[in-house]
């Protein structure tokens, strides 16, 4: 296992692709967060915005780059034939996938921490000049605030879980374009489709099982009783998706020819 981990770590460390993708994920996350917080204003008390969630909006864009990174970790090997070498070096295929999962979780959590803290810092610096002041009921964003801390840690975990879900799906699908199509579909479609579902019960159910709509409830700090699912349960739903994808991926990796 240690050997497998070391080889995965070496691959991700020495390839230029992953490094650029991680940097791009950080930049995209912070950039979108800055853009969103820069356009929001609060004229009077009670404008009803969730400043923590606003500051963390960038995660919705950053996750797309995390998806590419995680998909390429496995499908990149299929397209170059590297997978044959990886599986020859470590014949126990579950170990290869586990090593990949651990490595990708580590690097995404690392980059995610920078991206999420950067976004939060941007919100803390930008929002007060847009009317989100203590007088209007918005103290500066701070990790000392319980819900904000939960949203911050949760967003980092969210990015790591998205990476694991992507790794699982890519192991199942193998082709990178199709994998990314499937994952972006899974993530973005529920928020797009939910409003056209006329029955409120089905609509809520859809939002409860959608990996992105459920997972991102971890970012909410206000109006918690209106969420389709509680924050930690929402992150749990995403964990279930990631686990299911990884298990199915492991199974197929063991059963199929590489």
């Amino acid at each position: 296992m240690r050997l497998a981990l070391r080889s995965e770590w070496t691959k991700i460390r020495t390839l230029t692709g992953p490094r650029w993708l991680l940097l791009a994920a950080i930049a995209a996350t912070v950039a979108l967060s800055v853009a969103v917080t820069s356009v929001m204003t609060c004229a009077a008390a009670g404008c009803g915005h969730d400043t923590t969630k606003l500051s963390l909006t960038g995660v919705q864009l950053g996750q797309a780059l995390v998806v590419i990174l995680a998909v390429l970790v496995i499908s990149g090997e299929y397209s170059t034939g590297m997978i044959g070498i990886s599986l020859t070096a470590v014949p126990r295929r579950a170990i290869v996938l586990t090593a990949k999962a651990i490595t990708i979780t580590g690097v995404v959590a690392g980059a995610g921490t920078i991206a999420v803290l950067g976004s939060l810092l941007a919100g803390r610096l930008i929002l007060p000049s847009h009317g989100f002041t203590p007088a209007h009921g918005y103290p500066p964003l701070s990790l000392a605030d319980g819900p904000t801390l939960r949203a911050t840690v949760g967003s980092i975990l969210y990015l790591a879980l998205i990476a694991l879900l992507s790794l699982g799906v890519a192991t199942i699908v193998r082709d990178s374009a199709t994998s990314i199509g499937v994952i972006l579909g899974l993530l973005y479609l529920v928020p797009v489709l939910a409003p056209v579902i006329g029955d409120p019960h089905w609509q809520r159910l859809l939002q409860q099982i959608g990996p992105m709509s459920a997972g991102l409830t971890i970012q909410a700090t206000t109006d918690l009783h209106n969420l389709p699912i509680t924050p930690w349960a929402g992150l749990g739903v995403l964990t279930a998706w990631a686990t299911a994808a990884l298990l199915a991926g492991t199974l197929l990796l063991r059963l199929r020819d590489a």
Binding site: V67, A177, I180, G185, P191, V192, V196
Partner: protein, 494 residues
């Protein structure tokens, strides 16, 4: 050199023999249809109050406080207005004075009190001066400026057969004509009198109810045959825009010493998305365009990146003019995608619309030419997106980056503007003008009205660009990317 038709044939043969790509195209059409099916089946609005329909067939708001009596034959009615004040519901049981631009108080001649019946009216407004309006959609300006005790407005409405003429005056002696309209559907006995309405006011990303009070005097009726007393009635209390607050929403009328004070709420105007929240649009039915988009982006990218695995040298040796190869690919891909999108949208619109209506959902009407535009436009949107993906695939040579880039530039702006109601209107306007998401304007059916203050944002289905102009933005991105791809393909080693 290989002739272009042969290049086309070669690309078409590649496309149709790869099972995954053909499956992707079938999935594209299927997803558009399936989502329409899902939207139709899952909706349930049985028992919802019927939406009032105006003489032109459009949905309307028709609720106001009406002090009226029957008027038979020709005649005229005159009034002076010395005050129109509005209050805005700022919170539960919290009414604050404020300006409602299109609060209305004046005279109306209406074919009965049924909601949606033909009418003509002349009125003072909160901040839009005197207006003559008829049949919900028509609006003509009269004297400008607000009404007050020092700036009284006199109004007159005159019926002569089908013709109704509106006059206004600042002193009750010198009159000017505001407008004359013909209402052919009007019966010989109509309801005539005073009315007050106050539409919902825009506040942040939504609207809040308002209520208006007007002070009238000098009521005079000439000609016609009237009853002997005036009745005050709320027209359309069940109107969708009339839910809940302000508390005590029904209007009232009081008279003292020749002056008549009328309080009312509601609006007499075409319905818009914000005032008819329960209604659906064809764009809602076509939400399946999104999963379809992802499918065409994946296929469009793979159509070129797969070549980079092994075939590109053969392809380029067969067609050494590389830009022609790219053009052939774009033509084949665009045509196939267009066909799949066309089939999907052409089935989805009637199917989803039928299911929604069966389940009691009111759909904003669209003429057959509008529906044709939406079907063709949706097919063109998908085809253009696939060509953008082809260009991105050529530029990146890798599928992963291309698929993600194209999906996020189209879907993410749409998610921001169409799903998050509180993004400021200026930003959503900018996003739907400049980003590829502008193309969704091609599915728009609702139209804004200058005489209705409302939230005209993409979230509510209103796009800043005209339908084809929106699509042209996406086409611009696709063309520029394709040109860049041709240059890069030409310069780079394969």
């Amino acid at each position: 050199m290989t002739p272009f038709p042969q290049l086309l044939h070669a690309e078409w043969t590649k496309f149709r023999t790869i099972r995954g790509w053909v499956a992707g195209m079938i999935a594209t059409a299927l997803m558009v249809v399936l989502v329409a099916l899902l939207a139709g089946v899952s909706s349930d609005q049985h028992g919802a109050p019927p939406v009032p329909i105006g003489p032109g067939g459009e949905p309307v708001n028709d609720s106001f406080y009406f002090v009226h009596q029957p008027l038979t034959g020709n005649g005229s009615i005159t009034i002076s207005v010395s005050s129109l004040t509005s209050s805005i519901a700022s919170g539960p049981a919290d009414l604050r004075p404020g300006t409602v631009p299109w609060a209305k108080a004046g005279l109306i001649i209406k074919d009965g009190t049924r909601q949606g019946s033909p009418y003509a009216a002349i009125m003072v407004t909160g901040s839009q001066g005197v207006r003559m309006q008829d049949n919900y959609v028509n609006d003509t300006p009269g004297l400008p400026g607000p009404v007050s005790a020092t700036s009284v407005r006199w109004l007159r409405l005159d019926r002569s057969g089908d013709a109704i003429t509106g006059y206004n005056s600042t002193d009750g002696t010198h009159w000017t004509t505001v407008g004359a309209v013909r209402l052919e559907e009007l019966g010989s006995t109509v309801q005539a009198g005073l009315f007050v309405a106050s539409p919902d006011a825009v506040q942040g990303p939504g609207t809040v109810p308002t209520v208006a009070t007007a002070v009238f005097a000098d009521l005079r009726v000439q000609g016609g045959r009237l009853g002997d007393h005036w009745t005050g009635d709320q027209v359309g209390p069940e109107s969708p825009s009339f839910a809940g607050s302000p508390p005590n929403p029904s209007g009232s009328v009081t008279e003292s010493g020749g002056s008549i004070t009328v309080t009312g709420t509601g609006d007499i105007a075409p319905a818009v998305r914000a005032s008819l929240g329960t209604a659906g649009t064809i764009a809602d039915i076509l939400t399946g365009t999104f999963p379809a988009l992802i499918a065409v982006i994946v296929v469009g990218t793979l159509f070129i990146t797969t070549e980079y695995r092994d075939l590109i040298h053969v392809t380029l040796a067969a067609g050494p003019r590389r830009s022609r190869v790219l053009a052939a690919k774009a033509t084949v891909l665009g045509t196939v995608t267009f066909t799949a999108g066309l089939a999907g949208a052409a089935i989805a619109i009637p199917l989803g619309g039928h299911l929604a209506r069966v389940n009691g959902v009111y759909l904003f009407p669209a003429t057959s030419s509008t529906q044709l535009r939406i079907v063709l436009g949706t097919a063109a949107l998908l085809a253009t997106a696939s060509i953008l993906a082809l260009a991105a695939g050529t530029l990146f040579r890798r599928s992963a980056g291309a698929v993600t880039a194209v999906t996020t530039v189209i879907v993410l702006p749409y998610l921001m503007v169409a799903q998050i109601p509180f993004i400021p209107a200026g930003v959503t306007d900018w996003l739907t003008r400049l980003t590829p998401a502008a193309a969704f304007a091609v599915q728009q059916t609702v139209v804004p009205y200058h005489q209705v203050a409302s939230v005209y944002t993409p979230y509510n289905g209103y796009y800043p660009l005209a339908p084809w102009a929106g699509l042209a933005v996406l086409a611009g991105y696709a063309l520029v990317s394709l040109a860049a791809a041709a240059v890069v393909l030409h310069r780079r080693d394969a």
